[in-house]
Point group: C2
Chain length 205, copies 2
Amino acid sequence: MSERRTQILDAAATLISERGFTSTSVDDVIKGAKLSGKSHFYHYFKSKEELGYEVLNRQFERFAERGLAILREPMIDPLERLSLFIDAVVALQSESGGRRGSPFGNLAAELADAHEGFRVRIEAVFERWASQIRSLLWEARPQLQDDVDAVRLSRFIIAALEGAVLMTRVKRDLSVLEGIAADLKRFIGMHVRDGAAMPTHRNLE
Amino acid sequence: MSERRTQILDAAATLISERGFTSTSVDDVIKGAKLSGKSHFYHYFKSKEELGYEVLNRQFERFAERGLAILREPMIDPLERLSLFIDAVVALQSESGGRRGSPFGNLAAELADAHEGFRVRIEAVFERWASQIRSLLWEARPQLQDDVDAVRLSRFIIAALEGAVLMTRVKRDLSVLEGIAADLKRFIGMHVRDGAAMPTHRNLE
DNA sequence: TGCTATTAGGACCATACGGTCCTAATTTCT
DNA sequence: AGAAATTAGGACCGTATGGTCCTAATAGCA
């Protein structure tokens, strides 16, 4: 992938996560990526829509590398990994200073009803995310109670995190996310078998 | 409040919850409310922004009447009320056929970073919502464990519900919300004192 | 009867938007 | 050296947007 392209993608990702897709104009992206003009931009992307799709892809890849990867670390206990992953989401959010949410939640809220193309792609993102958690739960199943529903629990985790990021953004207070993350860990701990100890779960507070 | 005004507000509320604020044009609202033209609209609202603020107010009032009111029902056990409230959120969502989210979550995601005026107002909405839950939890405190943090728990409930509504909208599958609602009740049940029984908590599934 | 609020309808404006087209200079690679 | 890709810059277009202004018909009310 040409360097310019990724440069454009990065600039667009920042702008979109700050202002949303609709409110980010192609001219904004051109300024942000320091291109010479419209034709320069349209040399790399055939439309703003395509730009949006590729930004979403890239955001997911980054999230997969920096977040989801933790869920697959082979040397760590699965439930410990899940806890670390939740910490990573908090860390990722604090990088942007409480501002700007999970890029998926943003786009989801903005475009889920309005733009089918985006809706489908965001659905796929959530599905891939959920599937990572599901296989982690499957791996942890010896430590979990028999009646744990991995599909439901994985959705719950994602929803709680997305909702938390949203609230954090609105309140501009990272401690909202931190509190919810801690509670979410407690909720997960609730599904651990009586015998198996929950891994060193740092209850902040 | 004149009838026309509420008519405009209703039309705008529908459009905004479907397409978002930015993507809803004043002309769309005029068509939706069957006004005669721009001047007719600007006779009632001095700007689109003001319209947005009042729509948000109205949406909150409706939510307060149809949802939050349950939290204050004097004759029902507080924890039972909380459970009923969660059911009400699910019901409210299913009315719109899975489409269109909690109007607050929508606006929050779209405008929290971009528009300070909206951000502040949405923050106030969340705060009033959270405060209702907090006083319910205070009322229920004899049944709850001593270490229950009402501030955190109320935030958790709201975040989980908002996240759930978002995911439901993306997946176009109401069962997502239903599952998360059920899990959320279980999480709340986790804070009940060992002695006190959790009120008839209908675990769907 | 008059005054005011509402309804109606349209012209108009500046700005912004996504997108196309064209020309030409500059790199990069073969 | 020469072809192909990249960078540069600008004119242009159709459409949409929020908003203003003006005129006039119709209701409602004192």
